[in-house]
Symmetry: none
Subunit: 371 residues, 2 copies
Amino acid sequence: MTNKPVKKGAPAPSLDAVLNTIQSGDCIEVMNSLPENSVDLIFADPPYNLQLKGELHRPDNSKVDAVDDHWDQFDSFAVYDRFTRDWLSAARRILKPNGAIWVIGSYHNVFRMGAELQNQGFWILNDVVWRKSNPMPNFRGKRLTNAHETLIWASKSESAKPTFNYEALKALNEGVQMRSDWVLPICTGHERLKDENGDKAHPTQKPESLLHRVLIGTTNPGDVVLDPFFGTGTTGAVAKMLGRNFIGIEREETYRKVATKRIKNVRKLDNEALEVSQSKRAQPRVPFGQLVERGMLRPGEELYSLNGRHTAKVRADGTLVGSKDNKGSIHQVGAAFEGAPSCNGWTYWAYKSEGKKVPIDNLRQQIRAEM
Amino acid sequence: MTNKPVKKGAPAPSLDAVLNTIQSGDCIEVMNSLPENSVDLIFADPPYNLQLKGELHRPDNSKVDAVDDHWDQFDSFAVYDRFTRDWLSAARRILKPNGAIWVIGSYHNVFRMGAELQNQGFWILNDVVWRKSNPMPNFRGKRLTNAHETLIWASKSESAKPTFNYEALKALNEGVQMRSDWVLPICTGHERLKDENGDKAHPTQKPESLLHRVLIGTTNPGDVVLDPFFGTGTTGAVAKMLGRNFIGIEREETYRKVATKRIKNVRKLDNEALEVSQSKRAQPRVPFGQLVERGMLRPGEELYSLNGRHTAKVRADGTLVGSKDNKGSIHQVGAAFEGAPSCNGWTYWAYKSEGKKVPIDNLRQQIRAEM
DNA sequence: GTGTGTTTTGAATCCAGTT
DNA sequence: AAACTGGATTCAAAACACA
């Protein structure tokens, strides 16, 4: 097929010709060549427009492999906004009236995408937070760990009736309603595709678990899912596995090659195999600081060791000052008092309530019960 | 005070007059009456119900005057964008060059706020997800549970140096770096303010735990924190408790009343509880040469890298000569040995005392203890 | 194979003070 | 103003190495 925009009046090519293929070329041109109102879902992971300055090293002096690819370079917000407007309106044209779109991004670009979605008349259904269980830390200690990315799920219009498999998502979530925050690990290990040198084939490969949840929740088997920034084809691989049809668009030949091979090796699951690997539910960690933030303990309040020998005062940042001016976490101060190498502060300290000592662990239990 | 915009050339009123008060009136007018570059932090939770009535003007500057005033979706976004632009630029003017701003919103408005922040030259530092531990479920089962809201933390410019209490936040999070996703319960129970009928006093009262984390992390005691959409004064209550100064602006008298009473009952914590964990960066610098001058290390003495691979000799001027005849500071020689771009010599080198390797950092600690 | 310790790595707008 | 330099800074998971 050609990548030329459709001429006015020319019959749009049938969708069947491009079903379950990867089209080469610019995604706007390719989308413009497809028939309007023909696609059930669009999943788009466009360049984020990161603006990285110098190099970044980890504390052990190793260099961080940055996303410095040419396709992520834009001269200004104006240029990026035009790009966003153009590909979104091309996507909008080919979407069925009851179709939906997902976009994913970070704070660098997601606000601009969200605003443009709204400007074009898309109707936002949810924003979804992908909370990474193993994000890259902030090595210089100058910011918060950038531990999430944002997805936006939107229908073509306010009155549309997009597919939403409520019960399937509820089942995925151990029987309770699926929330707008999804805890999933980043793509590593065997799932992460490598090139012939053993380097990562694509700098920003998304985990299949993310696409799995998107496709299970917002498409049906047989639906057509289009990904205009196909990369190494995670969308296509998961779509094939789940019995959905995909259309990929990708400019870079190297990515297309990797994706083609990858998808060829995917086998469609039998229906019974659609059971999902659930993220293990470990006992969630509760930082002591949360008791302070939540007002369960007040800064300045006295804590008492359960053995009755020591006291310490709570500070606003969740650390303690012991009566010997020893500062640190509940564990550190406890250990210092006991001259022990370590100490479980949760079982060491108590607060006073109506004159009685109550272990602070009770407060932790309370928080866990809410989670 | 009056709410008129400041006339050109008129002296801006001193900030002291409004410190720890709640100003009535339109937040844009009040902010315009304050001196520029005077506020350390702005926390803003703007309305986004698109029924802003008197607060809003159409793009052609005609006033939107009634609840049932009909405007189409495009109009309403344009109106909201203008409102956002106006209050953000008023906020920008009064912010100190190294000040910062937090805004909070949901998918209805946060993308527009984020884009406008960037357009005005604010520099996004993080977006933060407030993950609600007890959100309202989606009753109709047509969407995901809307279980989070988004905050954006931004400095006034790319080159600004905003306050960030890295160690304090790390302490709040049980010793690991604070992430961009914050799990906190919504505001309920005793904390939720009620009116005389027992109904909630404000529809979107934010939890104090959220403000606690914001203020501990990005302000210092004595800073000035302004909240242009004060509501029932959560920002003021937490600011007072944590020894920060606040300026509230609120147009609704009922909210001002509730907030005034609420804040009056708050007691400032004593200074000891307000002290938070300090970064090493805050500690005084000790030149390595001082160890030599003070005779803690002798010129000619051998140093050993803690990894056991390299040695170097101390020279009288506090530089080293490595075994490869590489000369320079403790950092430079360490970096040369490791072929690394940089090296912290304090943690790289050790001297021998009674046959045992002792990190030279111990000697620095000793000096700092005397200071 | 099994268990244990070490190394590697991930969409990152990641320094501050002095000369 | 630009260049230099001291020195502060990381978490989880998987791969890998080795006993």
